[in-house]
C-alpha cells in the first residue's frame, strides 16, 4: 500500500466515513499491524480505541479472591528497580503509569486524562514536546491526591544515576516541566517519533513524592515504601514475602468506576512452568498462570480437562540464531571473536546461506512451540508494519547440499565437508531450556545430512545471560560459532530494539561486552538507515528505514530468525482477563472479572 493511499484512508476515518475497525482491517490486510496503524491514526489526530476487555460487573468488589501463579517469584515491589517481568507484574498491581499498551498495541490511558495528540495540543509539531494531563480526583492509597509533582518527581528519581533505576534509559535524556497541578510537559532533546516511552507502560509507573522524596539517589534502597508500596492502583498492599507470596486487597477509592471486581488478590511464586499450568488447567487451584514456556502438546493435553484455557498474544520477542563471522577460537588482544578476525569458514556467504536452508522452522513451530511462536524469516515481526515482506524462509536439504557443492566444499571420509583443510564443524550454543535443546537436536540432524557437524552446547541461563566480564560462556562474548536465544522487544516500536544491528553497539572487550550488537556484523548501509529512522517523524517512512536495517542482516544470513514468540497464559474458564504482549500481564488488572 502506498503512502498516499494510507493518507486517504486516514482522512476517511477522520471524517467518519470509515470506521476505525475497518481501517485496522485494511491496514492489517497490507501487513500493517495494529500498533503502527494506531500510531498512524494518533499522528493524524484520530482518537485511540477503547480497552480491549469489555468490563461487565456493575459494582466494585464482590468477586472474591483472585489468585495468580507466577512460576518465577517476585522479589521486590519498587517498579523502578523491578529487574524482571515478575517484579514488574507485581508492582503494576499497586502502581500505574499514565498509559498502558493493550494487546493490539493501542495506547490506553490509565492515570492520564487523555492520550496526547496533535488535536488536543498534547503533541508539538516539531516532535520534541509532549504535554500530558493527569486524571482528576485520583488518590494515593494513603488518601493524598495525585498531582503533576509526583510525575516530575518520578522523572527526577529515575533519571538520577545514583538511584540506579532500571528504567533510567527512558528518563535520562528528557526534561520534565510542571505546567499546573495536573499538567506537565515532557521535553525531548531531539525530535522523537516514538514519544510514548517515559511515563508509559512498564517503565512509566508513577511513584508518590511524599513517600519517596527523601530517598532519591544513593539513599534509594532505604525507602520503607520499597517493600510496602503505596500507589494508585486497584489493589492496596497487604503482605509481601519476597520470593514467595504477595497479597493485596481491593482499593475502595479506585479511580475507575465499578472497578476492581475482586476483593483480594494473591500472587504466589515459585516452581516451574509446567506445574504452574497444571495448577490452573488441571486442578484449578489458581485462576491465572503467566508466561508458560511449555511445549504446546503438554498444554493442549491439560486443556482437555475443560477447567481452563490458554490464551496467546503476539509480542515482539524473537528466537534466532547468530552465525559468527569473526573467529571465536583465536585470541587477539585479549578477546576471542574480535572484530579484527575472520571466521575461517563462516565468512563464506554460501555456508551461511546453506545453514539457513537447514533450519526446519515449520517443524520447530509445529512440534515444539505450537501456539508459542510463529515461524519467520524476519527479525522484526510485530508490530506488523515493521515486518519485512521480502524475507522468506525455506527448508531444503538438497538445495543446501548443492550450494555447498558449488562453493567447493567437498565431503571428506568422515562425511563432513571441507575445503583447503578447513572443516565445517561448529559449536552451537544456547541456554538451557527444554524447547531450545529440542530445536538444537532438529537443526543438528539436518546439518548432518548436509555434511555439517554441529557440537551442541548448553549453558545454564543464569550464566548465559549474565554480563560477567570474566565468564567465557555469556551470550555477548559469543565465544562460539553459532548461538541461539530470544531477545525481547519491550515496546511496540522496534527502533531501540534494532540498535543491536548498528556498528557502534558491537560488543567488544573495550565496552566490557556490554554492547548490544552481539553478532559483531556491521554494514554502513544499516547504520545509515538506522540513523535516518531515529529522526524521521513520518511513521510510514520511518518504518521503511527500520525494515531496511532488518533486511540487511537477515539477507546476509548472519541473523537467522526462527520464531516470532507469543506470550502464553493459562486461566480458568470463568476468568475474563486481559494480557498484552506489549505490557506486563497485570497492566489492566483492574478490569479483570469472574463471570
Amino acid at each position: 500500500m502506498k503512502e498516499q493511499e494510507i493518507r486517504g484512508l486516514v482522512a476517511d476515518v477522520k471524517e467518519g466515513t470509515l470506521s476505525r475497525r475497518s481501517f485496522m482491517q485494511k491496514m492489517a490486510a497490507v501487513g500493517i499491524a495494529a500498533p503502527l496503524a494506531t500510531q498512524i491514526l494518533i499522528w493524524n489526530d484520530v482518537a485511540m480505541a477503547n480497552a480491549t476487555l469489555q468490563y461487565k460487573p456493575t459494582k466494585a468488589g464482590g468477586g472474591g479472591p483472585l489468585k495468580m501463579l507466577l512460576w518465577q517469584a517476585p522479589t521486590l515491589l519498587n517498579p523502578h528497580f523491578a529487574s524482571g517481568t515478575k517484579d514488574q507484574i507485581a508492582s503494576r498491581i499497586f502502581y500505574e503509569p499514565l498509559a498502558g499498551w493493550d494487546k493490539e498495541g493501542n495506547l490506553f490511558p490509565q492515570l492520564a486524562a487523555e492520550i496526547p495528540s496533535k488535536a488536543n495540543g498534547g503533541l508539538s509539531a516539531d516532535g520534541k514536546t509532549v504535554t500530558w494531563k493527569l486524571k482528576q480526583g485520583v488518590k494515593w492509597h494513603d488518601g493524598k491526591p495525585l498531582t503533576a509533582d509526583d510525575a516530575v518527581f518520578t522523572w527526577e528519581y529515575a533519571a538520577d544515576p545514583a538511584t540506579a533505576a532500571y528504567t533510567t534509559g527512558s528518563y535520562k535524556d528528557i526534561t520534565v516541566e510542571k505546567v499546573d497541578t495536573h499538567t506537565f510537559k515532557v521535553i525531548f532533546k531531539e525530535a522523537t517519533p516514538f514519544w510514548a516511552d517515559p511515563f508509559v507502560g512498564v517503565a512509566g509507573m508513577i511513584i508518590p513524592k511524599h513517600l519517596f522524596g527523601e530517598y532519591k539517589g544513593a539513599k534509594s534502597r532505604e525507602a520503607p515504601a520499597n517493600l510496602k508500596p503505596v500507589g494508585t492502583g486497584p489493589y492496596k498492599f497487604a503482605e509481601f514475602k519476597p520470593g514467595d507470596i504477595l497479597t493485596g486487597e481491593r482499593n475502595a477509592d479506585y479511580h475507575v468506576k465499578n472497578q476492581p471486581h475482586f476483593d483480594t488478590i494473591e500472587v504466589k511464586g515459585g516452581g516451574d512452568a509446567v506445574s504452574a499450568a497444571r495448577a490452573v488447567l488441571q486442578t484449578g487451584e489458581y485462576d491465572y498462570a503467566w508466561n508458560l514456556q511449555v511445549e504446546d502438546e503438554v498444554l493442549k493435553r491439560m486443556e482437555t480437562g475443560g477447567r481452563g484455557k490458554i490464551s496467546a498474544v503476539p509480542s515482539g520477542d524473537i528466537e534466532f540464531i547468530i552465525l559468527n563471522t569473526t573467529d571465536p577460537w583465536t585470541e587477539v588482544d585479549g578477546e576471542r571473536s574480535s572484530v579484527k578476525t575472520k571466521h575461517p569458514t563462516l565468512t563464506d556467504p554460501a555456508v551461511r546461506q546453506a545453514i539457513n536452508l537447514l533450519i526446519d522452522r515449520d517443524s520447530i513451530q509445529k512440534f515444539i512451540y505450537g501456539r508459542g511462536g510463529t515461524a519467520t524469516a524476519s527479525f522484526v515481526n510485530e508490530p506488523k508494519q515493521f515486518k519485512s515482506t521480502k524475507l522468506k524462509y525455506e527448508f531444503n536439504i538438497e538445495k543446501a547440499n548443492k550450494i555447498l557443492d558449488d562453493a567447493g566444499w567437498k565431503k571428506g571420509s568422515d562425511g563432513i565437508r571441507e575445503k583447503d583443510g578447513k572443516k565445517l564443524k561448529y559449536v552451537y550454543q544456547t541456554s538451557i531450556n527444554a524447547p531450545r535443546q529440542k530445536t538444537q537436536a532438529i537443526i543438528k540432524q539436518a546439518c548432518q545430512r548436509a555434511g555439517i557437524d554441529l557440537e551442541l552446547k548448553s549453558v545454564t541461563a543464569s550464566v548465559f545471560f549474565s554480563s560477567d566480564v570474566a565468564n567465557p560462556d555469556t551470550y555477548t562474548k559469543l565465544y562460539t560459532d553459532m548461538e541461539m536465544y530470544t531477545t525481547t522487544q519491550p515496546q511496540p516500536d522496534p527502533e531501540r530494539f534494532l540498535n543491536q544491528f548498528t556498528s557502534w553497539e558491537i560488543a567488544t572487550k573495550e565496552n566490557k561486552w556490554l554492547g548490544r550488537n552481539v553478532s559483531r556484523y556491521s554494514d554502513p548501509a544499516a547504520d545509515e538507515a538506522y540513523k535516518a529512522a531515529q529522526k524521521e517523524l513520518d511513521p510510514a517512512k520511518r518504518a521503511a528505514y527500520l525494515i531496511k536495517v532488518n533486511e540487511i542482516f537477515c539477507e546476509a544470513n548472519v541473523i537467522l530468525p526462527i520464531l516470532s514468540r507469543t506470550r502464553i497464559a493459562a486461566s480458568l474458564n470463568n476468568l475474563s482477563h486481559d494480557h498484552s504482549g506489549w505490557d506486563v500481564d497485570s497492566w489492566n488488572i483492574a478490569a479483570w472479572y469472574r463471570s
Binding site: 511445549e295 527444554a434 535443546q437 529440542k438 538444537q440 537436536a441 543438528k444 545454564t460
Partner: protein
Amino acid sequence: MAGSTLASPSADPAAGAAVSQVSVSPGRETWRRFRRHRLAMASTFVLGLLVLGVIVGPWLWPVAINDIDFSAQLQGPSWAHPLGTDDLGQDILARMMYGGRISLAVGLAAMIVATIVGVLIGALAGMSRKYADPILMWVTDLFLSLPQLPLLLLIIYLFREQLKAVFGVEGGVFVLIVVVIGGLRWMPVARLVRAQFLSLREKEFVEAARAQGATKMRQMFRHILPNAVGPVIVASTIEVSSAIIAESTLSFLGLGFPPDIPTWGRLLFDAKDQLDTAPHWALFPGAAIFLTVLSINFIGDGLRDALDPRRVI
C-alpha cells in the same frame, strides 16, 4: 552392653581360613561363600547382562540415537521401536543403550571414587589420636557445607576447556563428572567409617593385634576395616543410584554431557512432563536404574555376608 562382650569377634578372614582344615586362601574362601548367596549370584548375572547390553547392544540394534521422526512421536512399544519413542520420535531402546554406557560408567566410577576417598579419610581420622582427626574432620565439614551449585559452575568454568583439550569432548566431561560427583559425595562415607573406627579401635581383638606388635597400617586394613565394611557397602551402593541421577542434574546445569546425549537420568527427566500420556518413556530408564541399583545392592549384601566369617552360609 558392648563393654560386657565376652568374646571378641575375630573377623579377620585370614584367621577364619586358618581354622578350617583344608588350606584355602581368604580370597577363594570369600568367593566360595559368595557363590552360595543365590541373590548375589543372580544379581551379578543381571548386572553382567546390563553391561553387556549397553556395550554390545548398539551393534545388534543399529538405530541412530538422534533419528528424528515426527510421524512417530510418543509411540508405545512396537516391533519397530521395542521400547517406544520419545516426543521427537527418537528410538528409546537405541538411546537407552547408548546412554547406559555413560550412566553405568559414571555410576560405578563415581561410587569407586567416593568410596575410596571416604574410606581413606574416615579410616585415617578414626585411627588418629592426635591432629589428623580434627584436621580431616574440618575438611569433611568444609566439603559438607560447600554450596554445590556455585561450586560446580566455578569448576566447569575453570576446568572444562582444559579437560576437553586433553580428553576430548566426552572424555573430558566424563572425567569432570566422576571427579565432581565422587569428590562431593565422599563425606558421609568418611563420617561413617570414622564412627565405626572410633568404636572398633577400642575392641579386644584390635588390642590383641596391637599387643602382638601389628603396625598401625596393619591394624587399620587387616583388623578394623573388614569389620567396618557394613555401612560402607550400603553407602557405596546407594552412591551408584545417586550418581546416575546426579549426572542428569549436572547436565541440566550445562555441566554434564552435551544435551543430545541421552543418559538414563536425563531420559527420566525429559520424560517427566509426559508421564501421564507416555509412561513407557519414563518406565524403561527408571527400571534400568532400579535394576542396576538392585543388583549392585545384592552383590554388596553377598560380599558382606561372604566377608563375615560368623555368618553361616
